[in-house]
Every structure is written in C-alpha cells, then in structure tokens.
Point group: C2
Chain length 184, copies 2
C-alpha cells in the first residue's frame, strides 16, 4: 500500500484516539481531527465515511494488531511465547487498549475481539477430528470468555502483575485443554 495512505490513516487514528481520551466520542468533530492532525478535512473523508466508521476501523485495526502478536507463531499450538508477546504488546500500548476497553469503546471492541478469538479457537479445535465432542460451542465460548476475561481484568486493573506472571498463570489454567485439544 502507498506509504501516504499508511501514514495518513495512522495519523488520523492516533489523533482520533487522543481526542477520544480527552473529550469523548460525541464531542469530537471531523474538524477537530483535521486541525490537530494538520491535514485537510477532505482527507479524512477520503479514508472514512464518517466518525462512526472511523471508530469501527480503529477497533478493527487494533483488534488485528493485538491478535497478530498472538497468532504469528508458526504453528497453531497454544504457546507461552505467543501469550507472552501479546501481553508485552498490550503493556506497551496500555493507554490505547484501556481506552478501547472502557466505555468509549461502547463494547464494540470487546465484541469484535470476542468474535475474532472465538473464530480462531473454533478453527484450532477443529483441526483434530477426534474433537467432535468439543465442537458444540460450549468449549469454544468457555475458553474465549476465559481468555478475554483475564485480558480485561489485567488492563482494567492497570496491569496488577507483570507479563511473565500473567502468562504463566494463563498457561497453567489452559493446561488441561492444551493437552487434549490442541497438542500436536
């Protein structure tokens, strides 16, 4: 993709998130964004149809960025390293995800995250044919909710334990399932 597009979208999103933290979604105008980002107002409309679309794309982007750190491990196995790098990334971008998980995200972020993770979990479990009994939805939603619950708790409480600890705890809790469902 053209560098200008990447830079411009990045700039608009950053500016938008800053304004979101400052004054909340309703009070933000397209003018605000353009002025602070020092770009033409028309440029915003070149990339996003309106303010809501911008929020959507923001959420989509940051869900993807988060899950990239989780899913970029080569195999589909549940690995400590993947969780570790995910929580590291979360720690680095704490303020953004705190914001998106708060009321300002209107729950959209959580929903999107949930849907994407549930889909991945479904695929991972489905890989082993003998997992038929677990593909009925209960397992998937149990694991997805559990993971997101931990993630939300960790962010909303301003990271009460460090990355290593949260990773180990999570791996410990998932151990029974990693063995039966997804181990190679």
């Amino acid at each position: 993709m053209d560098r200008r597009i990447q830079k411009t979208r990045q700039l608009i999103m950053n500016t938008f998130l800053n304004l979101l933290a400052e004054k909340g979604f309703e009070k933000i105008t397209i003018n605000d964004i353009a002025k602070r980002a020092n770009i033409n107002r028309g440029t915003v409309y070149l990339h996003y149809v309106d303010k809501s679309d911008l929020l959507d794309k923001c959420i989509e982007t940051y869900v993807e960025l988060l899950l990239n750190h989780c899913a970029n491990s080569d195999d589909t196995n549940l690995k400590a390293s993947a969780f570790h790098s995910t929580f590291e990334y979360l720690e680095k971008n704490f303020t953004i995800y705190k914001l998106l998980l708060s009321n300002e995200g209107f729950g959209f972020f959580r929903n999107r995250l949930y849907a994407t993770i549930a889909q991945t979990v479904t695929q991972v479990i489905g890989i082993k044919p003998e997992n038929n009994a677990f593909s009925n939805g209960v397992t998937i939603h149990f694991l997805t909710s559990g993971f997101i619950g931990v993630l939300e708790w960790w962010i909303n409480n301003s990271m009460p334990c460090n990355v290593q600890e949260i990773t180990e705890q999570l791996m410990f809790l998932l151990e029974p399932y990693t063995k039966h469902l997804v181990s190679l």
Copy 2:
C-alpha cells in the same frame, strides 16, 4: 505553503540531524535519510539538490528560527524579554544547536549566524543618525562577536547557568551600549 511541503521538509531535516549526530556528515547517504524518514528517495531530491544543499538549508532554517525569537519583539530596542525567549528556545532545542555549533556544522552555522546578526546590529545602530561614529565596523563586530561568544559558551558548556541568569548577565554587559546606541 502547502502543508505537505512543510511536513516533508521538516521530516527530512529532523532525520538528517539525527543521522548527523549518529554517524557524521560524510557517512550519511540519501538512502539513509529516505529509509529512516520512510519517504521515497526521489522526494528528497524534490526539495534538495544534494546532501550539502540539505546541510545549507538546515543551517539557514535553524539560524532563522533562532533569530526569530530575538527579533520578533515589536521595537528594534534591545530588550531583556527578547534575549530571554531566545535562550529559552535554545534550551528547548539544545541538542540541535549543540550539534550545529560543533564540528559537524563545519563552522558554517557560526558564520551564517554571525553574518545575520552583524547585519541586524548594523541596522539597529544605523537608526540613530548621531551614531555615525559607531558605524565604522568596530562596534558592530565587537557586539556581534560578544553576543555569539556568550551564546557558544553557554551551549558548548551545556548551559552552565539558567536562562534568567544568562539574560541578566548579558543585559548587564550590554547596558553601556543600549543606552547610547539604541535606546529610544
């Protein structure tokens, strides 16, 4: 001027100065600048004919930025407030001016600063017709050298005193001249 031009030139100059601090003028390539600034190589050539031109424009720009703080006071009088804001600006952009005043500036920065200040001093003195006796150059170069000497000392010694102190000292030293030469 078009916003894109301003932003691009600012980006190129910032990147160039960072590289200057890291590896020195000779070792910098246009490729380096383009890659780190994340812009197309051709864009650099769109604004600067080559590396030397870029250094020139950098020096010109930062001399102007510095002197704007000195000269934007409404009257041509020598005012403590003007010096104060100048040294404040210097303090804020310490690393840049330390770099430009060091060997990396090849003395070009000092020369350019000298020429511009001398010109201003000439004008200021020339305003009062009875100053004919002082327009022979000695006064001008004495004052210019004095001011730049103070400035260089302050920067090269990493600002050994605060802005308020350096301003007061300078005003004290200039007092005999402000009275006779430039007071209203």
